[in-house]
Amino acid sequence: MKHLLGIDSLSRADAERILERAESFAEVGRRDIKKVPTLRGRTIVNLFYESSTRTLSSFEIAAKRLSADVVSIKSAGSSVDKGESLKDTVATLTAYDPAAIVIRSPHAGAAALVAGWTDASVVNAGDGKHEHPSQALLDVYTLRARLGSLEGLKIWIVGDVLHSRVARSCLHAFGLMGAEVTLCGPPTLVPPELGAATGCAIAYDLDGLESADVIYALRMQRERMGESFVPSLREYVTRYQIDSRRLGPRQLLMHPGPVNRGIELSPEVIDSSQSLITTQVESGLVVRMAILYELLAGSERARPDRGPAPAEPPRIGQPA
């Protein structure tokens, strides 16, 4: 693989290879010295046109654990604010011969454009409301670590699907790994065409949520109220908040963060034993290491058919 631009264009073999590599990095992470020399002498540029704490820091630490030199450029204070075009910025950065450019942009397709303008590998760290592939891979990794497999799993993605790149990547990733996905939220925020285009089920209320193995809640942004997507936060909370009453004892809970406590999730479920939210952050690091490894060092060494497949542990909701 040269670039990671989206899950839509990813094969299951590609995904499996990255996930297996992430498992081996998890082992490294348990050592005292957490750094490996794989990318020593290579430069990784993080080009972030949107503010981000967790994704940027996760990519930075991942690159450093692989011994790469890292430069992070944020939109504020850079030439971007002086009106330089994305193409010119990429040309400038490419002059430093980076091994990879990790880009976050408010615009769909930005990463794919960059891939056409540079020799470096490009990682899409979020392009508009389109895709956020590293998030989806870390979510799959998190679920596999807990359940062994996603095959046949029922996953409900609940909330503002319309404005969520996480949802768009996750629905592809979960589907790719054999799960059945339901998109749930207010009709104004869950486009039925997305269900038609992807084969996901659509639900406008939480009836049937009890059948889910995993509930994946999305961040509900306050500005959506002003845009008449939902009448009030109160009504949203009443209809869609995942609380201890709605979260069944055998269900797992995920959220891409940052969480609006008391809006999409009630405080008690965030801290419950079923919540995988902090595990997701931990997974982010090893999965992003695996992504960088795959793109920059994986061409010869990582083979999809390498080693036996891990045995499948029993799933939640399945009699042992």
């Binding site: 075009s85 994305l86 930005a110």
Partner: protein, 447 residues
């Protein structure tokens, strides 16, 4: 072609096209003839081998070629004044001639917009220096395309405005449009309408549907166009006004026009080649060359446009030729400028994708390509003795790749770039003068 059109002075053509197939569906003409142009007028449609060829006339051996009335485009953006880095009158009209057009109607959303007689006057003077084909200019309906105050429509008409349009933007206020339609009784001149409800379009950048849902792009619903068409046709009918609806893109829009026509509204409308052959599937690539307003819609919408073109609900083909500089398109889709060029590819695209594919007869496509002036009072060109020569010579079998030899237009934002097309314009005669010769195509001289 008409006093309302302006173009640079050019020598009237003496031209003979021997043995080509002359096709003019309006006159039910379909025959192999010697076409003789003398002093810029069609002199004879003689039997093969017959006719009086003017001495020294240029001669084309036209066997296997097609001669048709030249096309008229009711909707182009020539970008003058103010945006000459995208296009100017010379490059834009040269592109028109290269596409087989003998006349074009230029939109008024320039910078500054054509909203005063002085701007219009200087533009027409410039066209008399630069325009390769006769060019008509619309003036805006509202000052500065602000959507609020009417322009001095009567004075603009006296200064040569072919009609009026705020194209690029809708006239959002029904009240303002109604006043303009009432004022048409004094000023005359058809009002051409870009139909869109800004409230519904919002910050949409493509058709709202499955593709936009997957890409996470804000969509422009089909209802944005169709509801506004219904509103404006109702107003036009009530005021007894004449309107021309621009660039239809959706099934519901075709239905709204059909209903308005059935109710007796004085309305005409147009559709573009790109809406007739492409759908929003093309946008999956996130290539900004497929970004335009109205957006490419679904296969069902496309089918409705084709049916509308066939049954006459849609009166004519318009290119909505909208040149943009490279740097305005080499950006993420959401940031890119709306619009695509179209003059140089219109015929070949429709010929390849609709005629050769068996979807529409060539005669029908030619009728719709030549009818673009009619909403503005410019009759369609005809192949008949005594008429000014407005004709296009086409090699219907020649294959070519869009963009491989560059473009006559200053801009390259064609949504058909790289496409292999069949059918090429070799020669265009506009207003009695030769306006274009394809580079590889040589002429002889009569002895």
């Amino acid at each position: 072609m008409s006093a309302a059109l302006a173009s640079r002075a050019a020598e009237p053509a003496d031209l003979v096209i021997r043995g080509a197939r002359l096709l003019d569906p309006r006159q039910e003409l379909d025959a192999v003839r010697n076409l003789i142009v003398r002093g810029g007028e069609i002199a004879e449609l003689a039997e093969p081998g017959a006719g009086t060829e003017p001495e020294g006339a240029e001669v084309v051996e036209g066997e296997g070629m097609l001669v048709v009335p030249a096309f008229v485009d009711p909707h182009v953006h020539l970008r003058v004044p103010g945006q000459e880095h995208k296009e100017d009158l010379e490059t834009g009209t040269r592109a028109a001639a290269a596409g087989g057009y003998c006349a074009v109607v230029a939109m008024a959303n320039t910078s500054p917009p054509v909203d005063s007689a002085s701007i219009l006057g200087s533009l027409r003077e410039l066209a008399e220096q630069e325009a390769a084909v006769p060019t008509g200019f619309l003036a805006t309906v509202t000052r500065g395309i602000g959507g609020e105050e009417l322009t001095e429509m009567a004075e603009l008409r006296d200064a040569g405005a072919l009609g009026f349009s705020d194209d690029g933007l809708p006239i959002a206020s029904a009240r303002v449009l109604r006043r303009a339609l009432q004022y048409q009784r004094l000023a005359d001149g058809v009002i051409a309408l870009h139909e869109e409800d800004p409230e519904l379009s919002g910050d949409g950048v493509m058709h709202e549907g499955e593709v936009s849902a997957v890409l996470g792009l804000a969509g422009i619903p089909a209802a944005s166009e169709a509801t506004t068409i219904a509103r404006d046709c109702a107003l036009a009918r009530e005021e007894g006004a004449r309107v021309h609806v621009q660039h239809l893109s959706a099934r519901a829009s075709v239905e709204a026009i059909a209903a308005a026509k059935a109710a007796g509204t004085s309305v005409t409308c147009e559709a573009t080649p790109h809406h007739l052959v492409l759908t929003d599937e093309a946008v999956r690539s996130l290539d900004a060359r497929f970004k335009m307003n109205p957006p490419l819609r679904t296969e069902d919408d496309r089918a409705a446009l084709l049916e509308g073109l066939r049954d006459g609900t849609i009166d004519c083909v318009a290119t909505d030729h909208a040149p943009h500089a490279i740097e305005e398109k080499e950006v993420p889709f959401e940031e890119a400028a709306m619009g695509v060029t179209g003059l140089e590819t219109a015929f070949a695209v429709l010929h390849t994708d609709l005629v050769l594919a068996g979807t529409l007869p060539l005669e029908l496509v030619l009728e719709r390509l030549t009818a673009g002036g009619e909403p503005f009072g410019i009759p369609a060109p005809r192949l008949e003795p005594g008429a000014a020569a407005n004709l296009t010579l086409i090699d219907p079998a020649q294959e070519w790749t869009v963009g491989e030899d560059g473009y006559e237009s200053r801009s390259e934002n064609s949504c058909f770039a790289g496409r292999n097309l069949t059918g090429r314009v070799l020669l265009t005669v506009a207003g009695g003068a030769v306006a274009y010769r394809q580079r590889s195509f040589a002429l002889g001289v009569a002895e």
